[in-house]
């Protein structure tokens, strides 16, 4: 039994390995980019729009309203980053319905990369909103005694983001694998169904948490 898609290696050149995680991530990135390019090539403002444009408008609109509800008043600035996070995780979890597909989010390296990008994006957005001094001041709230705890919280929440997504997806695929060897008839399908639900909820939670962190970093300055 192997833990996640990291151990499925397609080809190896010295220390560079092309494993299933990287290949699937590239395929998903290609699908997302090519799909959006194809759809946005001919957008129309008529009353009658193509069904793909309709789909993409629904996605973008709902992501915008979600970001706005969490407290970022200008969702346009953050839509690119947070929306991409959501779309990538959601697509990679949704594709579990395809046979022989292993979700790249079931590997700790992918989720760690996503969490680290959130870890970097939060100070970047915070500094862009209020300058270096204003952002660093948010670490001293409510009192300067909280400084070490604020720094620890910054690190642990990144770890928690990575392990939460990894653990949920990995446990889903592992339960299906175990059930396949115990009761291979119907139950694996039911668990895959549950895994689809968990995958969507986890994608939502990952992006909501990223939004909350960005909002916390930028809101502290707006109040003052």
């Amino acid at each position: 039994m192997h833990l996640g898609p990291d151990n499925v290696i397609f080809c190896q050149y010295e220390f560079l390995k092309l494993n299933s995680t990287i290949a699937t991530t590239w395929a998903l990135m290609l699908a997302l980019t090519a799909g959006s390019l194809l759809i946005t090539r001919r957008l129309s403002t008529d009353l009658k729009i193509s069904r793909w444009q309709n789909l993409i408008e629904i996605i973008v609109n709902s992501v915008r309203t979600q970001i706005q509800e969490i407290g970022l008043t200008e969702p346009r600035k953050y839509l690119g980053f947070l929306g991409t996070l959501f779309l990538f995780i959601a697509l990679s979890n949704l594709c579990t319905v395809l046979p022989f597909y292993e979700p790249p989010t079931g590997s700790l390296s992918t989720t760690a990369a996503l969490a680290i990008s959130v870890f970097i994006a939060v100070p970047v957005y915070g500094i862009a909103e209020a300058g270096v001094g204003g952002y660093l001041k948010s670490y001293l709230e409510p009192t300067f005694l909280m400084l070490p705890f604020n720094i620890i919280a910054e690190l642990t929440r990144t770890l928690a983001l990575a392990v939460r997504l990894f653990g949920n997806i990995m446990s889903g695929t592992m339960i299906v694998a175990i059930l396949l060897s115990v009761t291979p008839l119907i139950f694996p399908i039911l668990m895959t169904l549950l895994g689809l639900l968990t995958g969507m909820v986890q994608a939502y939670i990952f992006s909501v948490l990223a939004t909350v962190y960005v909002a916390a970093a930028t809101r502290a300055q707006q109040d003052q």
Binding site: L3, A160, V163, G167, N168, T198, Q202, Y204, I205, V208
Partner: protein, 92 residues
Amino acid sequence: MDNLTIIASGSIIMCGLTTAIGVIAPALGEGRAVVAALTSLAQQPDASATITRTLFVGLAMIESLAIYCFVISMILLFANPFWGHFLAKAGG
């Protein structure tokens, strides 16, 4: 018992105990969260969309505590660092 046996039995026993004990608290927490959500749903059915959304997020966050325990069990079973260390020592 030699080192390898101690590590193997310790890892296997602790792997079961980690998930078994670690799941208790999140289970109680999830139960309380669902109870609170159902009570507020009964009082204010109009706010069901917000309540359900917040409930799902909260449940997933509580559930991740249990998932952490599961991840640690998996590390103990399949990616145990001490096991590899002592195996290399015994082999070479």
